[in-house]
């Protein structure tokens, strides 16, 4: 079956513009995550969706960042008024969720965001 799909793979934008990044998780996965990876760095948690529960937004760096997940499937990460420091790879992951044996995250290839 298909893995986690992220679009676009690359996005170049001007400072101050808004961007939307899309993630299609693996079918049947109830948990969806967004992480950010700056050049040569580890993965920084942004937000986590699990089923119909309220999302864990504790990792969002500012109120310019938001995400939603429609119908328990596709998710969109929106960055408003982009800044140069937002430049990074944005990774989406999904998992079966719901317990210790179901926490294995499957990652997409990421969206490389460049803010000029």
């Amino acid at each position: 079956g298909a893995g986690v799909s992220q679009t676009p793979s690359n996005k170049v934008t001007e400072k101050g513009k808004d961007v939307e990044l899309r993630c299609d998780p693996i079918s049947g996965h109830t948990a969806l995550y967004w992480y950010r990876q700056s050049l040569g760095q580890g993965l920084e948690f942004l937000i986590y969706f699990q089923g119909n529960s309220a999302p864990d937004k504790s990792g969002l760096p500012s109120d310019r960042f938001s995400a939603e997940r429609t119908g328990g499937s596709v998710s969109t990460l929106t960055i408003q008024r982009t800044q140069q420091e937002d430049s990074a790879v944005y990774l989406c992951a999904s998992s079966l969720g719901g317990g210790t044996g179901r926490r294995k995250l499957f990652f997409g290839s990421g969206t490389q965001l460049s803010v000029l």
Binding site: G42, L43, Q50, T100, R103, L105
Partner: protein, 112 residues
Amino acid sequence: GESVGLHLPTLSVQEGDNSIINCAYSNSASDYFIWYKQESGKGPQFIIDIRSNMDKRQGQRVTVLLNKTVKHLSLQIAATQPGDSAVYFCAEDGFGNEKLTFGTGTRLTIIP
């Protein structure tokens, strides 16, 4: 939250030799750990996982060791191949909320 750290940022190993990548974690409540491999331009790929009720787990050419006493995790790769060159991340779930915390990563280079 507590962070996961790695002892070495880079590691070079001769092809065919075994490699060991280390990871220190600080949250004694962590009950699940994962190793990921990330090749250039790709997302992290699952390698192997281990629960805190285990000390060792083996996969194909890879072994993960967990020492809860000193809060240390290691990934052993046997008979390394050029395709093993990548950045390796350890991650922990220390809060029971299914939110993994990742370390900075170790870049493994296999020398032909």
